[in-house]
């Protein structure tokens, strides 16, 4: 079971990729609920039992798709995180989240909707899942972060968090960015899942407004 040396290993790596690609294709069109191992195998011209040599269960395949989705979103945001001012960077990054979500609805639903496999997210997904909030934190650190008052219990959690997370933000600013983070994804999720229909949907205008408001809130001009 070495790295990609022998022909067999190469073939295995390629097939693993092809399976994921086909699964992602079916996910994009039919949704995670409809994703079927047998249909993926059929589409690849093999029999369903052969697929189990590459993924031990359907949930493992879905988990692989989840990790890929987190990374795809992370890449999209990283690529959008450009601009002369922190404000531009913030707006561009937030917009990238929304646009990626709109362009990959089912993948977004997979990672930010109800967790389908089991109660807890697999450990492998937490790393890639932290990329976007870390980017937001970095942008906020480049601004003028305000350190408002924070209750003691929360302050302890935030201090512990500040020790793990790169940018040296004070607890108050950290709390504000976390709040903005939850707002951003709450808003995007609401738009995607039809919760805004009777109110501010189409949500583009409201999205821009909210992003600006939160930028101001976290101390970005």
């Amino acid at each position: 079971m070495g790295a990609g040396r022998t022909a067999r290993d190469k073939a295995r790596a390629e097939l693993t990729r092809e399976i994921k690609d086909e699964a992602r294709r079916q996910l994009a069109t039919d949704g995670a609920h409809q994703l079927s191992l047998r249909a993926v195998a059929r589409s690849l011209g093999m029999v369903s039992s052969a697929l189990y040599r590459y993924f031990p269960s359907r949930d493992e395949l879905v988990t692989a798709l989840i990790i890929d989705a987190y990374n795809a979103l992370g890449d999209a945001v990283d690529q959008a995180d450009r601009g002369a001012t922190p404000g531009e960077r913030w707006r561009n990054s937030c917009t990238a989240v929304r646009e990626w979500a709109l362009a990959h609805r089912h993948e977004y639903a997979l990672i930010y909707g109800s967790p389908i496999p089991g109660y807890q997210a697999p450990q492998d997904t937490v790393g890639p899942g932290t990329r976007v909030p870390l980017t937001l934190l970095g942008i906020a650190a480049a601004g003028d972060p305000p350190d408002g008052p924070v209750p003691d219990g929360l302050r302890a959690q935030l201090d512990a968090l500040a020790g793990v997370v790169p940018p040296g933000l004070p607890a108050g600013a950290l709390a504000r960015v976390v709040l903005a983070w939850t707002q951003l994804f709450g808003m995007v999720g609401f738009e995607l899942f039809g919760q805004l229909v009777g109110s501010v949907d189409p949500a583009e205008e409201f999205f821009g407004f909210a992003v600006d408001q939160m930028a101001e809130y976290v101390g970005i001009a």
Copy 2:
């Protein structure tokens, strides 16, 4: 097919309720994904095909559960919406959302997670789904709502919304409450789905902080 007159109609109404109750029980323990018509029927001592006399499909059963969940959450919030000041009412209502969500994880995931049946939420669910935001709007109206500047396109949407929604809030205040609404549910969803694990989980402290911040933001002392 009259109202509950004959013995048959009574039995039908009762069985419909029993089916929903059993389905909700299985939903609570196993999650929406695992909810099985056949298991529900089995648990009720009948055969699966008999169940189709009461719900034409699994999705229709789930839709009924969704409506009930919206109403249960709405009831919980309505009951919690008490307090001497708008600030108390706001805090109590927001806390009721979180506590209901934590006590009914799978039901919450059903209504605020990825929509399982089809792309669009059935029309019957939008009414009950507006109860919580309407409550929040009412509380904000009892405070001192600030009318900040709002971009033109959004202003048009908000003015249209203001004509439909009871409390006479100016557009700027309306926008702020919508933002707070998305933040609240984004935060609760994040906590429930494990997104806050490496940062501010357990989230009780952060939740209180965010609720207070948003109260201030919508003009509640």
